[in-house]
Symmetry: C2
Subunit: 239 residues, 2 copies
DNA sequence: CGACACCTTGAAGAGGTTCAAGAAATGTGG
DNA sequence: CCACATTTCTTGAACCTCTTCAAGGTGTCG
């Protein structure tokens, strides 16, 4: 069967530790394999889902990079997160059966479609999966607490430092460099996420560069002094 | 048995629609009743749980009013939400088996203790409960998206207007007035939640009062013109 | 009644925004 | 492959919102 062919074997996926529970036996692993309905390719700049779309599935990112953003009728716009390989998106859709934000690919991406009714079904049989789903949602809640702290009480330099440290840490966990990264998003998108204007983001990058903390060549960032960056966060002159 | 005596019958709780799934049959309702281990009374000013506490249970608020707040080592502090009767707190603790924020009672409160392992157990048997838990977590994620939008792209007047409208709407859903409310929190706590200083909160209240939108007598707020308040949010001079 | 926490208001200052212009990179079509 | 349009990024200067600092007022509770 064709469907069979395009299926992803979660049990063989090299992202397994990132998006699936650990410590399953073979039987349970086989069940999990049935979770993924299909893969989908998303071209850069296009949406995985839009605000208002009917919710049916969660999505596990295999490759690529996404942003999620909410928009109001009045045209306000807020990037709520950036997601990379091994992360799950779509959790916002569960509560009202439709999505309340847009998920846009910032580079060509490939995702696994996880029909939510199947997740719930399997969760009843595989305790580890049930708990894993709860953990993923709880992790997202805790992450957002961190963003609220950032937006509510940090100044521009701290915000950008936190942002860079978080990005590089997540990339490092995926086998990339600890000191080098290529931004997938524009200054404006960073600004939206951090509650700053794009000019402020640009200026703050320039300031970090002047101070010798980073080198900035457009979207290519080289972190020269990660401790200094951490110090920017910790030794905040308070606000 | 004593334990039996202090148990709460969820099936008889007048908050049922708020914190429990609807459309259960008798059998399922009886199971849900076994969910609540005990009630607990929390005195005003004391904590239901602290950052770092081991996570064991979610808590359903029966009466009273809470704030949750995260704190960093450097002394930064951010109120992440205000919770009232019928709402669930403690979701942050699931991911790492310990809480990552404080939950403080802003008035004497009574809560139902819902041991999380029992929730997971029952979720496997009662599909509606399983889905309800997922919805509660998703709702919290969506709520936080809204706060991120507020903190990231609204100005002081809009933030306070959103805050008041949200509070009064939730109170109204619980049978209170649409136009009158008593704040349970200080200006400083409002400010922390909204990413503003307490002076700014106070000034903004005064401005609303000058404009005839509200009357402010300390913590007693009378909303005279709710449409004007909504207009503050919608006709933002953009930022 | 006095101590304490909370709230209001004023004035000065800082951080970030806005507006503007130009430079660098990227993409497109001939 | 190059010219041109477009998007993205940087930088400067003026401005504005919110913060900071300070003082006094109001309310509450032992």
């Amino acid at each position: 069967m064709k469907l069979e062919a395009i299926k992803v074997a979660c049990s063989n996926c090299n992202l397994r530790e990132l998006c699936m529970p650990v410590g399953l036996n073979t039987d349970e692993l086989n069940k999990i394999d049935e979770l993924v309905a299909t893969r989908r390719r998303i071209k850069r700049g296009t949406a995985l889902f839009h605000n208002g779309d009917t919710f049916t599935s969660l999505y596990a990112i295999r490759t690529g990079f996404f942003k999620t953003c909410v928009t109001t009728e009045e045209g306000l716009d807020q990037v709520t997160g950036f997601q990379m390989a091994g992360e799950i998106i779509g959790l916002d859709g569960i509560v009202n059966d439709h999505h309340t934000c847009d998920a846009i690919a910032l580079e060509d991406a490939e995702i696994c479609v996880l029909p939510f009714d199947r997740i719930e079904e399997l969760s009843r049989e595989v305790n580890a999966l049930q708990h894993h789903v709860h953990k993923i949602m709880s992790r997202e809640i805790v992450r957002e607490h961190g963003v609220m702290l950032l937006l509510g009480s940090m100044r521009a330099e701290e915000r950008l430092a936190v942002f860079l440290l978080n990005l590089v840490q997540r990339l490092h966990a995926r086998g990339f460099s600890q000191s080098e990264l290529v931004l997938r998003m524009t200054r404006e998108e960073i600004g939206s996420y951090l509650g700053l204007k794009l000019e402020t983001v640009s200026r703050t990058f320039s300031k970090f560069a002047e101070d010798g903390i980073v080198e900035v060549k457009q979207r290519h960032i080289q972190i020269n002094d990660i401790d200094a960056l951490k110090l920017v966060v910790n030794s905040h002159p308070c606000r």
